[in-house]
């Protein structure tokens, strides 16, 4: 998809003014994080599982070439095919040709962030092939021509009424002329419409949560069952997965599954976890005749061995964004590309360049909640700080910020001056009143106070002054 990460600040202004979005985000902040907390508490082994999950992914990354070759060997042995795509363009080309080889007119797609990353839908449409998104959230936003706003809840920014309007607009021609008001009716109508699309599709395309080297299986986790219909009904099943999805064994998968669903939605387990291994076998009454796996690099191999390597552990649960105060204020679209939240703030500059996406790692309070809930313990704030440093080194930081930082570092290294200036600032700010403990507006600070209050200095002077008093 086309990135708008460079206009992050304008995107944020839009997001903060969007009342529907703000209502959705208010729900998300309590819903996901509370359910995750409860699920983690129900499982005494949860923290030990997170440690093991981290170690498994580290081990897989350290031996990534070996496990990818092993995975390929197993897929081939069972009659499947493996395609290697160094770039997004390569992957689009391979998938386009596979679809054309089937004379495909429609492709049933199960939600895949990697497919978003390589802009697969646009490519298929250019070839005259209709990609049908089958995950309910993805289907809704496809009808509305919007990108996903969350990696596991792509339509989380929309209200029921917006969905009802969208369905009426697009389903009326199929005979659904009544505007619905209940969620279960909306789900039922989408089920009905999409069922026929599944039955008609020539190709099913899915992502993969994991590729299991031991067995040559692709592993998919969903709640709706759409991935399963996509890989069962059409004649061809194409799996699109990036290189870091490979893990060694089924036992490793069990560990990762235990942390994945709990971190993502707070469920003990998602409704469907499916392992697919090769095409339909002799005697099978259903299943695809052709099974292809497309393995995408798209810049990831270059991340190995660098200080950013840890981001490749990510299993795409979405916990970091569910717990991020910045995501919670602006939602996913503002990040401007495929991956939002702390994950996106680290991964997007890596995949499309810090020049385009340098704003994203700056959009963090470094509160550390993302790292504290990450099931594979990725030190997200540390990785965001790396990007800030690189941005600074490359002189991409705006002049005003650079000057401000230079001034601050000058003062901070001179304790006497620092104390005098902070004492002065404290007294000046006090002139504007501190009774309420915060300012709704301040001269020269409109950029800050337009969306939030500024804390007022407490009585008793600066921290340094209070500390001195306490100790004497």
């Amino acid at each position: 998809m086309e990135s708008t990460a460079h206009s992050f600040k304008e995107n944020v202004d839009h997001a903060l003014a969007d009342t529907n979005l703000q209502d959705s985000l208010a729900m998300l902040k309590v819903g996901f994080s509370e359910r995750r907390r409860q699920a983690a508490e129900r499982l005494p082994e949860f923290e030990a599982l997170r440690d093991r999950a981290r170690d498994i992914k580290n081990h897989a990354l350290a031996n990534l070439d070996f496990y990818l070759e092993e995975f390929e060997r197993k897929v081939l042995a069972l009659g499947g095919h493996v395609h290697w795509a160094p770039t997004a363009a390569d992957a689009r080309h391979i998938i386009g040709e596979l679809c054309q080889s089937m004379g495909a007119r429609t492709v049933a797609k199960s939600k895949s962030m990697v497919a978003e990353e390589i802009a697969l839908n646009e490519h298929l449409e250019e070839l005259g092939i209709s990609p049908i998104e089958t995950d309910l959230g993805e289907y809704i936003i496809q009808l509305r021509h919007e990108p996903p706003s969350h990696i596991i809840a792509p339509a989380v920014h929309l209200t029921k009424d917006q969905v009802a309007d969208t369905f009426l607009e697009h389903h009326a021609k199929l005979g659904f002329t009544k505007r619905l008001t209940e969620r279960n009716d909306l789900v039922a109508e989408a089920r009905h419409v999409l069922r026929q699309k599944f039955l008609d599709a020539d190709v099913g395309l899915t992502g993969a949560n994991f590729l299991v080297a031991e067995t040559g299986s692709s592993m998919l986790v969903t709640n709706e069952g759409n991935a399963d219909l996509s890989n069962t009904l059409p004649k061809m099943h194409i799996v699109l997965a990036s290189i870091e999805k490979v893990i060694p064994t089924l036992e490793d998968a069990a560990v990762l599954l235990r942390v994945l669903a709990r971190s993502a939605t707070g469920q003990e387990s998602s409704a469907y976890t499916t392992l697919n291994t090769g095409p339909k076998r002799a005697g099978d009454l259903d299943g695809p005749e052709h099974y292809h796996v497309v393995i995408l690099d798209n810049g990831r191999s270059a991340v190995l061995g660098t200080e950013m390597q840890e981001i490749l552990r990510c299993i795409r649960c979405g916990a970091c964004m569910n717990h991020c105060p910045v995501y919670g204020a602006i939602g996913g679209h503002a990040y401007g590309w495929v991956y939002p939240g702390p994950l996106g703030a680290v991964l997007t500059p890596q995949l499309i360049g810090v020049e385009e996406a340098g704003n994203l790692p700056n959009a963090s309070t470094f509160c550390g909640r993302c790292e504290s809930v990450c099931p594979v313990r990725i030190p997200l704030p540390k990785l965001m700080r790396h990007w800030r440093e690189r941005e600074f080194e490359r002189h991409l930081t705006p002049t005003a910020v650079r000057r401000g930082l230079a001034l601050w570092s000058f003062v901070a290294r001179r304790p006497a001056l620092y104390r005098r200036l902070t004492g002065l600032a404290n007294r000046v700010l006090a002139l504007f009143g501190r009774a309420e403990g915060r300012y709704r507006a301040l001269p020269l600070a409109g950029g800050w106070t337009r969306f939030r209050d500024l804390p007022a200095p407490q009585a008793g002077g600066t921290f340094h002054a209070q500390w001195r008093k306490r100790r004497s």
Binding site: D65, H83, G287
Partner: protein, 224 residues
């Protein structure tokens, strides 16, 4: 495409500052693949068999499935009565498996069964299960001529008959059973694990059942 393949694999090796892995490192990863290490043991699944079955049933109900524990002789009666209780037609697609064939379907004159794969028009399916996982109340289905995948997915209502002895503690025991039955390097084409009926939270984060797969799941647990 072999050029693309070596481009990716060599890129990985270059970044990891080494060549193709060899010697001790290769032996270590090959040994790990041959004898996969277990993850942390999940205490709640370490139970005697009767308690495992009870835990399985408890979690299955939490996952919005319904559970009935009946004698093998009463399976067909239970199925007909479940369909009647839910105002469903006494008509179902049933997996062509020898295990299911043993139940006394002929005693139910009103019940019409079609052996085969699932179709878009089926309202009800009946299948067995390869295993049940007590830890989360999850069913494990292994595809094959006797268990078409479509039966797990297309009908509105999925009835599963599972034997108590097929209920295990955790996922790891399922992997062991699969390796024993199919061979270490040969998984069934599809292994579906089902934890309750299909669901979605995609509209306003509220859970709704029956997104694409079955809306209703009824699990019949039989001794043996």
């Amino acid at each position: 495409m072999s050029e693309a393949r070596s481009q990716i694999l060599n890129g990985i090796r270059r970044s990891l500052r080494r060549g193709e892995i060899s010697g001790d490192q290769r032996q270590a990863v090959e040994a790990r693949l041959a004898r996969p290490p277990l993850g942390p043991i999940i205490a709640r699944a370490q139970l005697a068999q009767p308690e495992k079955v009870a835990l399985f049933c408890q979690w299955a109900e939490t996952n919005n499935a319904t559970v009935a524990r009946v004698a093998a002789a009463d399976v067909a009666t239970e199925v007909v009565s479940f369909l009647a209780r839910n105002n469903l037609p006494a008509r179902a697609a049933i997996a062509p498996s020898p295990q299911l064939a043993d139940y006394d379907w002929d005693s139910q004159k009103m019940l019409s069964l079609r052996r085969g794969r699932g179709e878009g028009s089926d309202q009800v399916s009946i299948t067995g299960a390869f295993a049940g996982i007590a830890e989360t109340g999850t069913l494990v289905m292994a595809s094959g001529p006797d268990h078409p995948v479509t039966l797990n997915l297309l009908p509105d209502t999925h009835i599963v008959v599972i034997r108590e002895s097929d209920i295990v503690g955790g996922y790891e025991e399922v992997w062991t059973r699969l390796r024993t039955l199919y061979g270490k390097d040969r998984m069934p084409r599809t292994v579906n694990t089902l934890t309750g009926p299909s669901r979605t939270g995609d509209i306003e984060q509220a859970m709704e059942l029956g997104a694409h797969g079955p809306r209703r799941m009824h699990i019949v647990v039989v001794p043996g």
